[in-house]
Amino acid sequence: MAYPQAAQPQPVSPPSVKVILTSAELARVVDRIAHQILEKTQGAAGTVLLGVPTRGAPLARRLAARINAFEGIAVPVGVLDITLYRDDLRRHAVRAIGPTQVPPEGIDGKRVILVDDVLFSGRTVRAALDALSDLGRPSSVQLAVLVDRGHRELPIRADYVGKNIPTALAESVKVTLAETDGTDEVKLIGGAA
């Protein structure tokens, strides 16, 4: 008599990974946003770029470098840490705060362009707007993101979008940058293969 066959472990398929932007494509997208900023702000006068950590900070520096390369304009760049303004502080273990660096020119009366890697729920941007209002009073605030993946939970939209990626909630968008991760790439991970 044969023993009943033991259930064979089903091979767990690794989450699908799809490259959305390669290094060269990412560079082109940054170039395009830099051009769009120059166009929409009439030469980036009175403009300050503020990157939201972690990956918004190097992105803001790259945008400033490209604007400088195209038009020879030095746009002030800073970093805006939003940790203390998050609405989910109490839902997680305590988070270490990062540096906030406002350019010496300040932000009063300036056009501030917030820079982040992925626009998702919009809560990070909401926190950034609160943080900004404690630092000064910009004449206007705009938002530049590398990727807009949808699923907004707040009435927030971006002024400059590198790439719109329709996603499912179960998927995640992973941006890596040379400055923080060693390579430039945007990947879509998980969801239906």
Partner: protein, 307 residues
């Protein structure tokens, strides 16, 4: 992260460094238009002070308010304590009022440790008897790092009334964790036997201030705590000042980069001469400003996240 901050020994090097780094970011808030952060909105911090204090209480109050916490100040004078209410009953009352953190100063060593067993929130020791004062040690370490760029490898002389000093005990513990070399200096009557070894191995003791000064990066003068002195520990104030007070000529023996610290309040002319207290080497006013930043960091790290 910790739940309570009761002792300098609660902190390992990584946690202490995280607090100092966080404090450095908190310090930037002081220069802003809106000196307020929303991180502790809706949290309640009780300042429970059984002993007189100016800077520590105000510092904790300013720190909690800058983080948007609600602050309730309680001083034993004029409260039910004068009617005989015990620490435990007072603590339970505060608990019932929904305190998320209790900052306690108490004349009895160990009172904060007892309190930590009775309340659900965080307990921060703001000085207990002659035992510990951990946030003072943190702000001293912050001040050293800000002035001298590092803590590891520094030679720190802690001078004066070590016997009664909670500041000295917390500093010895924290500075040893952060890699500084501490020498306790004072008259033999005011330095408990073996205190250095008992707190942190490697701590030295000297009874000769002039011999220690030329090799010190930091001189921390302690207040002579006459209110805790039932006996005479030295013949006269003048003799104490002559042998262990830091005056101009003594300050000149220090290396050029060395700084002079004092936790306050000072007895000018006793342990520290006015010319020293007001000199550019003195960090006394900075220490007060740094105290707010360091206490903001501690409050945020204890209360900011989920428990």
């Amino acid at each position: 992260m910790l739940k309570h901050l009761l002792s300098g020994a609660d902190l390992d090097a990584a946690t202490a460094t995280l607090i100092l780094d966080t404090a450095a970011e908190m310090a930037t808030v002081a220069g802003r238009e809106v000196k307020k952060l929303p991180a502790l909105r809706g949290r309640t911090v009780v300042n429970l002070f059984y002993e007189d204090s100016t800077r520590t209480r105000i510092s904790f109050e300013a720190a909690a308010k800058r983080l948007s916490a609600d602050v309730i100040n309680f001083s034993a004078k004029g409260s039910s304590v004068s009617k005989g209410e015990s620490l435990k009953d007072t603590a339970l009352t505060l608990q019932a009022m929904g305190a998320d953190a209790v900052v306690i100063r108490h004349p009895a060593s160990g009172a904060p440790h007892r309190l930590a067993n009775w309340v659900e929130g965080s307990v921060l020791n703001a000085g207990d008897g002659t035992h510990e004062h951990p946030t003072q040690a943190l702000l001293d370490a912050y001040t050293m790092r800000a002035r001298l760029g590092r803590i590891a490898g520094l030679s720190v002389a802690v001078v004066g009334d070590v016997l009664h000093s909670r500041v000295a005990r917390s500093n010895v513990l924290l500075l040893a964790t952060l890699g500084a070399k501490v020498t306790l200096v004072g008259p033999p009557t005011l330095i408990p036997v073996d205190i250095g070894a008992a707190l942190a191995p490697g701590t030295e003791v000297s009874y000769d201030l002039d011999a220690v000064l030329p090799t010190s990066d930091v001189v921390m003068m302690l207040r002579v705590q006459r209110e805790r002195m039932a006996d005479s520990y030295f013949p006269s104030a003048r003799e104490y000042a002559r042998r262990y007070g830091l005056d101009g000529p003594r300050m000149a023996r220090l290396p050029d980069h060395a700084i002079v610290m004092h936790p306050g309040p000072m007895n000018r002319g006793m342990e520290i001469a006015p010319e020293v207290a007001d000199s550019p080497r003195s960090t006394i006013v900075e220490q007060v400003a740094n105290g707010v930043s360091v206490r903001m960091a501690v409050l945020y790290l204890l209360l900011g996240g989920m428990h």
